[in-house]
Symmetry: C2
Subunit: 318 residues, 2 copies
């Protein structure tokens, strides 16, 4: 590190300066102080670890900073909430310089601005690898948070956006040397994902009974939602929206899409899907299956054959 901790903190305060609604004390004191609204608080924390979640030679610090925010905001979105305040405990290795940290913070600030939340505090520590442990404090109308546990047999299963793009982007980047526009769009999805905050609120507003963000793959995250709800599910494979460069395996098992998976009563789902067509006519919400009694997951292919759905995904420890 080419600057002292106090000098770096002073630089960080300049980058983050700017009065924000509801922030009483921001970066630079023992703790931040913020004024809550009338809703419940949504609290989540998630770390990006060098070597496990990113390779510093393959990402810019600006994209990395933005991604660290987005993966956490995605968890708030999956409860139907809005992100409000962000903290980041950074562990930095000795070869990191002040300019890299400023770029990282610039990316965090860009993402926070996009999600209308503010970075109000953090911490710096030294370690042998870079770790960004971000916490997001969000808000949701009192008693209206959507958990993973409320899916009921007969509910319809919906997903936002398209699946598999991030996995396709990682594959394309690792195996190709020349990229067309579609390749670059997939790579971009992997490097700079977008949390589906508006979609989460739309789904919550239409009576979603359960919701989860797809961080480890559709199969594994659907299995988690079903397990918490004590239900099974049937997915129509032909209805799963594939990213333009994604294979079916990438759509079902690839992680880091950060789309939302939700269940709703069928009439409510129809209304939600109809309302989720944006100005450009793009459908942001698709029905992919239904919730079953029991605990089994099935997939139905286009010729009607039904078989067990393999909850393939990314288990961080296996």
């Amino acid at each position: 590190m080419d600057v002292s901790e106090d000098d770096l903190l002073a630089a960080i305060r300049k980058v983050l300066a700017g009065a924000v609604d509801g922030v009483v004390v921001d970066v630079g004191d023992d703790a931040a102080v913020v004024r809550p609204g009338s809703g419940d608080l949504v609290l989540t924390t998630d770390a990006l670890v060098e070597g496990t979640h990113f390779d510093r030679s393959l990402t810019t610090p600006r994209d990395l900073g933005a991604k660290a925010i987005s993966v956490n905001v995605s968890d708030v979105a999956a409860m139907g909430g809005s992100p409000r305040h962000v903290l980041c405990a950074m562990t930095l290795s000795d070869d990191i310089d002040g300019a890299w940290v400023m770029e990282l913070l610039g990316g965090m600030r860009e993402a926070c601005d996009a999600y209308a939340c503010s970075l109000v505090g953090g911490n710096l520590a030294r370690g042998s690898e870079v770790t960004l442990a971000v916490t997001v404090i969000g808000e949701v109308a009192r008693g209206r948070a959507v958990t993973r546990a409320g899916a009921r047999p007969g509910d319809v299963i919906v997903v936002t956006g398209e699946l598999g793009s991030a996995a396709a982007g990682r594959r394309i980047r690792a195996t190709q040397h020349r990229f067309d526009e579609g390749d670059l769009a997939s790579i971009r999805r992997a490097e700079r994902p977008t949390a589906r905050v508006a979609e989460g609120q739309l789904l919550a507003g239409h009576g979603a009974t359960a919701m989860i963000d797809i961080s480890d793959g559709l199969g594994l995250d659907l299995k988690r939602l079903c397990s918490e709800s004590g239900v099974g599910a049937r997915v129509r494979i032909g209805a799963v929206p594939l990213g333009s460069r994604a294979t079916l395996e990438e759509a079902l098992g690839g992680g880091e899409d950060y789309e939302l998976l939700a269940t709703l009563p069928s009439e409510a789902a129809a209304v939600a899907v109809a309302s989720a067509i944006d100005e450009a006519g793009v459908v942001r919400l698709r029905t992919i299956g239904e919730v079953l009694a029991g605990a089994d997951l099935f997939q139905v292919d286009s010729d009607g054959a039904e078989e067990p759905l393999d909850p393939t995904g990314w288990d961080h420890f296996q």
Copy 2:
């Protein structure tokens, strides 16, 4: 790691189970959901990194877990707040087993119970070193948080407890092979510090104008408080309360005591000090100097000689 992530999460949920006031959704969903009180929120995050902050061969996972909570609660205490909810993003290396994690969580739970707050969420990731990034969400009466920025010339400077014990404990542990009771008490202060929550509230209630926790040493943390407040200070060296095994250098420059340093108008300080004598007659608050106009820090020794105070401390990057 000898267990899968989902199995470890299931075990963690069992350890942390138990309904707590104000917790709507706890460990196991995308995010925790809690109901705020009527006060402002106090938000802080701080990481303990293996190799930088701890050595796994020299601490038990139970002490380490408790310390990770205490160092964060200390920041809430330094604002005059009460800790309410805790999140922990854990990075674990491959050689960690499930039993170690359960002990770590046991220590976190013990500390949370002692501070009357609850661990409501977290995250697991794999890395090459263990990192515990803890976030504490606390509460303080609306508009009543005590920052570092309010000290005024003429205010009195007070500290809680005794200083230098943690540094003495680290030195004793590193240099001795046999320990007496006093040695062990100092080592205990280093391994399992206590955040001064009640003292912080007492000081806030008596009108503290500025407050900071002493994590990097009295000199450096006093310099930070004075810098934020735009003031100088004079410390009477003979009045600094030394831990029983601590040298003066350890009391002035040693980190990790997690005592509180505060400034108050002099009459208010006298009342606060008088009220801070516990049932056993132990004085928990001592006056050590006064706030000056300007920006210089001075120390006065017992024969009245005044010289610049060297803000020695622990800068994590130098």
